[in-house]
Amino acid sequence: MKKSVFVLAAASVLTLSIQAALAQDKAAAPPPAWQQGRPAALADSKLAPNAGKNTETPASEIPIDKLKLPKGFKAEIWATGMVGGRAMAFSDSGKKIYVGTRGIGRVYEVTDAGDKRTVRVVVDKLTQPSGVAFQGGSLYVMAIDKVLRYDGIEANPAVQPVDLTAKFNLPKEQHHNWKYLAFGPDKKLYVPFGGPCNICEPPSKEYAQLRRYNADGSGMEVIATGIRNTQGFDWHPKTGEIWFTDHGRDWLGDNGPEDELNRIDKAGNFYGFPYCHAKGIPDPDIKKKDACKDVTLPVTTMGPHAAVMGVKFYTGDMFPKDYQGAMFIARKGSWNRSKKFGYDVVSVRPSADGKSAKISPFLTGFMDPKENTFWGRPAYIAQMKDGSLLVSDEQLGAIYRISYGAPKK
């Protein structure tokens, strides 16, 4: 192509977008969501979100030997090449696993051929399609502004999606509105809608809540409110209650308010956002009298700025007995904290009454605390049929497999 063509194309794109922009410029606007709540003391802070990586990382460049696990457990690289890969959903047969992403806009399909894995892109060009779920032979994909269903995709890889977007009534604001999706034991699809800011009174009632829908998008119900940004939940295998992680707000200093692990013991619970954080910390910016009154406080806090992600109750029989009834939680790791925190997977054992829980380290080594650096960011956990675990690393676009064999004596 000649230079003049380039110039013309670039100029016309610019003109078009400016026209579109002028038409939309009149929207009413609350204060900038990101700097809201940032105190004068942190005005000069250089803390910024960690850079993601949009290029593929081959297995040879993954320092898997740095990972540490309790005795008898082993980590191996299971699949690579899923740039930005996060949440994982198994197909009905368990032979395929679907992986959502944010920035790069793709959903991957990883096929397990026993000794090796192959990866293909199911769909791309979406706005943060982080939500993936599988039920009744269909793959469900949810981006910030789109819902797609792929029927019979295991048998028919080229199947065209059914667009369900209109049924789900997705709100306009994008921040914290990328999805984690899961079908519950009731066969309904559970979908979070985050608070569209660091801290704010949400612009309308559609935000900061967890909803469920029938699989076709009908029958929407709000299950819980006051949830800032949940990116992971699972159902307790015995009680059937939902346990979910929630990210604490930023810009209140290194030590909090901590991320949360919550339990929904009854529909309609209010979890505090934006007025009350962690185990009862009233927000200094969005003030309300008796800020923590009628708030369902977390079962446990999960550490400051930890970025708690996936939750998975362990139901396999490969791991030692004391992992039965425990859940694994991935902490993707902090950015809004001068000393890095998280970058690990912990095991969490709830008490019999579900009112407290004990957190223990499980998978560590993604972070170098001395250098204050990290190389990987564990995001989600899936359990394989043999009882081993898959852990996705969003930073390197890889999945690691964690297995257990009795330690040699």
Binding site: K3, V7, A11, A29, P32, A48, T55, G103, I104, H175
Partner: protein
């Protein structure tokens, strides 16, 4: 600058170790020629609407080029040019442009607008991520010396959720800021060295 032009080329070439070594190098040269059409031979753009690439952080360039290849960012002409370009070539292109020197903007300065832009940028704490020099770091682009009209349009595009592929935090940072403020900030950033 860490390396001279020769050293950079040597490093770029080294990234293309393959049987068709010369062929790959030729391809890279052709790619750079087509980039130069809009972005300037030295990465400093004189084309309306096309950003300067010189001295941009490498991670920012990589992320952006991938998103453009994926059809998520940039004008169709960019997306078409990058279609099918493999990651390692994108890394090499990014390394090349991040190592080039940004030339100073010699367009006249509107002192009042410059000051207004500076004040707005300060109020919005842009330097928190883009550095006090506004030369950027990691995934956060250099704003200093960037083309004025490009900066104004990009800020608007972020605010209107027309820039997918990044963290929504940039759109959230510009939430509610009027277009006149974007223009003032764009003037200010574009005149920095």
């Amino acid at each position: 600058m860490p390396w001279g032009a020769k050293g950079r080329w040597a490093l770029l070439a080294a990234l293309f170790i393959s049987a068709a070594h010369a062929q790959v190098e030729e391809r890279m040269a052709a790619q750079l020629r087509s980039c130069a059409g809009c972005h300037g031979a030295d990465g400093n753009s004189v084309t309306t609407g096309a950003p300067s690439l010189a001295a941009q952080p490498k991670i920012f360039l990589e992320n952006y080029l991938v998103l453009s290849r994926e059809g998520l960012r940039g004008p169709p002409v960019m997306q078409a040019l990058l279609k099918g370009v493999p990651d390692k070539e994108i890394v090499a292109l990014s390394m090349h442009y991040s190592g080039l020197k940004a030339t100073a903007n010699i367009d006249p300065v509107d002192k009042k607008l410059f000051q207004r832009g500076k004040d707005i940028a300060s109020k919005n704490r842009c330097s928190s991520c883009h550095e006090s020099t506004f030369r950027g770091r990691e995934q956060m682009p250099r704003l200093a010396g960037q083309r004025e009209e490009f900066l104004a349009e990009v800020m608007l595009a972020y605010r209107q959720n027309r820039r997918p592929g990044g963290d929504t935090i940039m759109a959230a940072s510009l939430y509610g800021i009027p277009e006149t403020d974007f223009k003032a900030m764009a003037h200010y950033f574009s005149r920095l060295k």
